[in-house]
Symmetry: C2
Subunit: 156 residues, 2 copies
DNA sequence: TAGAGTTAGACAATGTTGTTGTCCATATAG
DNA sequence: CTATATGGACAACAACATTGTCTAACTCTA
């Protein structure tokens, strides 16, 4: 029988797993025509969704200020993933919507994540991977999209 | 029988798990006399270790510039977790060492992580938690301390 | 329908955290 | 002894987020 590892190993393993997946995602995205995308952008693009959002709305969804959200939209617009159109329902507001490049990148990301998951499934066995996902879901109830990672983590 | 979740769920679960643990750690640290510690600091304190390090050395361990490492040491010195003494073996160098408060905070963190792990162990069953740790270790070979999370993740 | 309060987004100022570059003192190799 | 590399301090700069302010537009209510 094996002994339990020290408690601090668990968070490190989780972070390492996240990081391995995301690094491999972005390596592949870069190889397939999306070299400018950064980890945050995936969260932002997901948060924009098919219907489009205003900057203030995006900020609320992501837990950052509307100014910060607006800068993300600016960047993604410059990179061609987002377009901003006047909101027909509110003259103050501009709707940020995904361009076809934006939806393409999301679809490609989904395919890549699917393949990465299937690699893990091969390495670990399908049942154990599913158990891992179920167990993590059990101990992280109601955790949503955490975009504020930079500020959350840092603090020199 | 259940169906597999989409691939993008896996990284989100891993990040959520990491975040839940670290948030609870720092909530408890704050309650027990360490309100100023941030998630990065745990990594820095671990990297300093019992023997002490120079700023340049710390930067290499953490994958950041020596200036950035020096600023972390400055902060931790101001908070009372680190002291800087001249290196007897090198007159250019200053050794950063943990103060007793620094080692105390590490020991407390270890105890808290131990308790958090045991909570997960109760919730999931000891075998499944151990399987989770082993499986993650299997798919994240050789991943060390990633301190560069802010810059890595961000990019407005 | 008029006025009060709220909300969107632009702009400016600021703070934090990281970077590179330069500098001097010290160490080390030839 | 000299040439080179390294440690740490200082300065300039860049990236990213924050708050505050301002104007325009929406919405609720009297």
């Amino acid at each position: 029988m094996s002994t339990d590892p020290p408690g601090f190993v668990l968070p490190l393993r989780l972070l390492a797993g996240f990081r391995v997946l995301v690094d491999r995602l972005h390596a592949e995205l870069a190889e397939h025509g999306h070299p400018g995308l950064r980890p945050v952008h995936g969260f932002v693009l997901q948060a924009i969704g098919p219907g489009g959002v205003s900057a203030a709305d995006l900020g609320r969804r992501l837990g950052v200020s509307k100014q910060a959200a607006g800068k993300h939209l600016e960047t993604l617009e410059r990179l061609g993933y987002v377009e901003r159109v006047p909101d027909p329902a509110d003259a103050r507001s501009k709707l940020a919507r995904l361009t076809s490049r934006g939806t393409d990148s999301l679809a490609l990301s989904a395919r890549i994540f699917e393949r990465l998951r299937s690699e893990w499934s091969t390495a670990l066995g399908p049942d154990r991977l599913r158990a891992l996902e179920e167990d993590l879901a059990k101990v992280t109830p109601g955790v949503l999209l955490p975009l504020d990672v930079p500020g959350w983590f840092g603090g020199a």
